[in-house]
Amino acid sequence: MMPDTILEAIDVTKHFGKDAGWPSRAPVVQAVDGVSLQVRRGETLAIVGESGCGKSTLARLLMRLLTPTSGEVLFDGRQISKSRGDELRALRRDMQFIFQDPFSSLNPRMTVARLVGEPLEIHAPDLSASDRRAKVAELLQQVGLRREHADRYPHEFSGGQRQRIGIARALASGPRLIIGDEPVSALDVSVQAQVINLLGDLSRDLGLTLVIIAHDLGVIRHMSDRVAVMYLGRIVEIGKTEDVFSDPKHPYTQALLAAIPSMNGPTADHAATVHGEMPSPSDPPPGCRFHTRCPHAQDLCKIQTPHLSAAQETSHQVACHFADALQRRIPPSNATQKSKTAEARFALYRAATEGGTIAHNTQQDQP
């Protein structure tokens, strides 16, 4: 284990429905199958994949909200897959979770002060009521809410504000690592940007390690340092975000990137997108799990499971037999080609929202 690793998964597998005895006939769902990954201190790691690929299950395994069927999860070098009692409580202090839906993850009958103060009652029981209140106010300010919001109930807030409450609650115990399961996907674009900026600021200012689960590739590209791509319970590619986005090596990653609608109009790259749908995790195909949809699949792919191997630099790993032989497909940049005047207008907008002084030109006739 490398010294800068804070969280590590070693060959983690989670099969649902395995322990269900008679009379259950439900098939075993192989949600996560042999995943190994390391999260480094202070980085933002994104886990991306389509629905049903097991990314949320993996997040819950890393958090120890679920117990793995086999494999180990290490936090700070300690085994956590079997921890319980006081040990688990200490772990909860160091590791927190932000949920996707800000509408259902806050108890509607509790005030913000109680919601944010609750983790403090458990993790800092010595704190007096007034100290706790001061701490709550501080946390609210940290996430961009006001002190007087403490006495309100969740329904009085908008979606973005509720997500801020969720973040304040996660920060309350002073964690070192936060796992966010689709933390911004329920929010509108304009509010989403505010929360993304907030998470970025917090991770920088507090030295937090973030693990972000998301399906929006734009969000991931913006937020993360490294990205792991999952398909049907396995990681197919992992590497630095800019490497994976500029030079995807796995056919699935290539397809995923080609499928993002481009701001530059219809893409000619549709040949690279895949057809069909993801097979069921209760009956995954043998060998490489992507072979049923892969345009490059050969006989070997149907028999032998490819493992993550280092491609070129050790940080960029891919699980494909033919990664090196594949044609390199450089995804087109999604940056829009703007005219000079439009460019100037965007700069004007950015300057204005970041607190520039605005002067309205009065020489021009006002319409």
């Binding site: 389509e50 629905s51 908008s158 973005g160 504000q161 509108d188 674009v189 304009s190 509010v191 989403q192 940007a193 399906h215 929006d216 590739l217 734009g218 969000v219 590209r221 913006h222 975000t241 800019e242 397809a255 995923l256 499928a259 993002i260 609608p261 481009s262 701001m263 109009g265 219809p266 549709h270 997108t273 895949v274 057809h275 749908e277 940049s333 999604n334 940056a335 829009t336 080609q337 005219s339 005047t341 439009a342 100037a344 207008r345 965007f346 004007l348 907008y349 950015r350 300057a351 204005a352 929202t353 520039g356 002084t357 605005i358 002067a359 309205h360 030109n361 021009q364 006002q366 319409p367």
Partner: protein, 323 residues
Amino acid sequence: MTLTDLALRFRGQPADVVDRVSLAVKSGEVLCVVGESGCGKSVTAMALMGLLPQQNTVISSGHLTVGHTDLDLTRESLPPSARGNRVAMIFQEPMTSLNPAFRIGNQICETIIRHTGTNSANARAHAKEMLQRVGIANPSQRLREYPHQLSGGMRQRVMIAMALANNPQVLIADEPTTALDVTIQAQILDLIRDLRDETGMSTIMITHDLGVVAEIADRVAVMYAGQVVEQGAVRDVFDNPQHPYTIGLMSAMPGLGLEGKRLAIIPGTVPTISNMPKGCRFRTRCAFATSTCQERPKLRKIAPHHDTACHFAPLEAHIEVSQ
């Protein structure tokens, strides 16, 4: 299809949820209506279809032209004989808009029989053909299945097949790909594009995803809080956005080649209907707003195919910002 000056409020609310919206789509054209939740885009679509509950909807103005039919929306709405026939709609949630208790085949045949009066054998053959056209393998077996047996992408294909069964002139699609994964979304967008080319139908697509707009639209209308703030040919609008809201929305989109930089934001949140600002509804969140904005800006031409509703457009001619 042309919609002029639609103004609509729900009974008991102090302001219009849709405030003088005009939209037009030519045959063979895709118009995207884009905006965040609560901007009135779905309500507009429902009003077009005449699907809003009459007892608590007040339409104070609005005129709809479909082909040669003129409708005064204050008094009448799209007749049921046109709904699902000349004008068809696809909904966002393919999970909840199919009836779980009926087989796919029955549901598609129902629309066909209802509007053409054909017998069930013909309807079934037609339904099978439609499933084939939307790219569903093994259609005769699928017709016998129930919605829960299909995946999300497959259900959305069934919805599209159902909507297109009677060869509509206008297809209204309300967030047809929002609930789907990107690779499935790409397949559905391709399908809608192909069917448009094949049949020459007009499409009005409601979405909140600017990427989807760029991918499929010919023209785009940007809505904010019930008003159209900018509209035009999609390339004109995206390459040269004029309204501060459009600019803000594009700046706030992650992944547009600005990695590492802080995203520019639109401060605040969408105003609720009970305290909707007078005049330009965006002014409470707009960095450039002045007292002039208390008067409602009209949509005016900026370029031949590009209108915007901002007093100060183009911004750079009217406004200077210094650090």
